[in-house]
Amino acid sequence: MTPVFGFNQIRSTPLRLTFLLLTIFALAALACLAVAFEVTRTSIDAAVAAELQQTINEYRGIRDGDDLTERLAEAAAKTDADVRILFYVPDRGSVVSNVASFPPVSGVTVVSDSFIRAKSGSVSDSYLALSARVGAGHLIVAQSREQVEEMGEIFLAVLLIGLLPALLIAGLAGLWVARGARIKIDAIQHTLLELKGGTLSARIEGVEDQNDDLSGIGQEVNRMARAQEALVASIRQVSSDIAHDLKTPIQRVAVVLDQVMNKTTLTEGQEELLSKAIRETERIVQTFQSLLQLAQIEGGAVRDRLHSVDLAEISRDIVDFLEVEAEERGFALSLRIQPDVATCVRGDRHLLSQLIGNLVQNALTHVPQGGPVVVGVTRTGGETVLTVSDNGPGIPESERSKVLQRLYRLDQSRTTEGNGLGLSLVSAISDLHGARLTLEDNKPGLTVRIAFPATEPA
């Protein structure tokens, strides 16, 4: 199985939706927090500013200058600069304050601690300051903004312990849901590919008793595949029925022709005509034999008879047998067997030699100019792989799945011999053995590759 969160999965629709929703959720939550923070801060600052104004108003109420200075000095002495700063600069005389220096301000201003020099002890990080003319001097009253800063910390805490875990949980839940959808989509895709490749028995698992939209699509695909399979099965049935019905009459025709050939005196011309009739009958018989054999192989009864056979040895025999024919027709038929590897498969010797023979003869028939034809047996990743390669015209990509169908022939090969059942038989025999058949580009030419499942050596 492919990893569900792998890089290439980023393109999958459910996963994209999950990320989109998460981003929207996170942005909305952040915006809400920011607005709430701003509103609260503004109202705190407003309250502090009002308090400062009131303090200033109180000092303004003192008419007597000395009394004012004395009251300020007293207040400065007992006020902690960390909470509130009083800074009075009289027109004449010395500054009265609980800090050493404070920058000049006008109106309500935020002042950071870097502009303030403390007398003793510490000062707060920032202050909200208000200055006004009081008596014969300027008074600055500044209130620590610790409250606002604390609130900022609270908001940060809310963000960290509230929003981030929520996002994480939502994200994981989203991925989980996306994974469920992804698995279904993968199953649908996989099954469609299999159906396209001709495995009409392929079905999407686990969608039948569910009622979400993806399962609905899956059920439709399954229904379609069932109908398709039934249709193909009935076509097969018809062709093997026809073959069965015509069997006896054909046998009789063959018998009669043989009798005429052997028991009567014929002129040379008559004998030639008769030979032609016999050859044509043989071709009809062969086509019927193939159709019936296909039906039998697809019926699966032969499967019980499979046992360990050596693919290399079978290939050697069939290559040895067909080599002279290849040579006469301008081909170089050769065998390439990977040395020192197990080449046994679970199979039926006779069917496998027919499979290899059909593939080789197919190459001899469809490559007009002759050339090398190579039968190879190798072992790759636990599988025993049979290949038959030529350097002929090959098969266009679009035609590849069709050539394995019964009686299908490429347009250009209509004129060559053969009944169009050779590759169907190859495909049926390959299926019977649980092998994977692929048609590949030999650049130039065709490579038929059949990978047999791993077996224990005999």
Binding site: Q259, N262, A301, R305, D320, H350, G357
Partner: protein, 224 residues
Amino acid sequence: MKILVLEDDNAIGSYIADGLREEGHSVDLIADGADGLVQATVGSYDAMVVDRMLPGLDGMSVVKTLRATKNLTPVLFLTSLGGVDDRIEGLLAGGDDYLVKPFSFGELSARIMAISRRPRTEAEPTILKAADLEMDLLHRRVTRGGQTLDLLPREFALLEHLLRRKGRVQTRTMLMEAVWDIHYDPLTNVVDTHISRLRGKIDKPYETELIETVRGSGYRINDV
């Protein structure tokens, strides 16, 4: 030879029976399986030709019953088109050979001869001879008129098969099955090509031809 034919199709039955009679055999033709079993038990035959599908009792059961009673008459099964399974089943049931309809009479005749004269269990010869041709199986050497012939392994195997059945016709399918273990019809004359190559080596340079083509049947190697 005395041959029993069990075949329910009239046309094919008489085709077989007539053909065999013409070759000088005495033939009984029966269309029903049960009757056939009785006949096979009472008459003593040299060979039997049995169709798989028979009314009364099917061919497989006839042969199984015969074998159960220790009747070892050689049996050639006939079957309709279409089987991979049939051949193996037939042989397992006790048949000696197997032929798919339609067949040429030559094929049938050659196969009946082959099963009725199975090589007896005598000491295996190490030298096979036909006229002035000698095959030394131990040293895998072939000479004709004292001259050593250079044969490929498959040519050696083909010649050995023919020599071991000297004087008997071997059809193309019989050769294909015995020499290469190939049991499907490749629809080509590859066997003829193999024979002609073999002839090129063992016959062509000499005056007498040892390998004879039997029209409508196959090949045979003769002593002269």
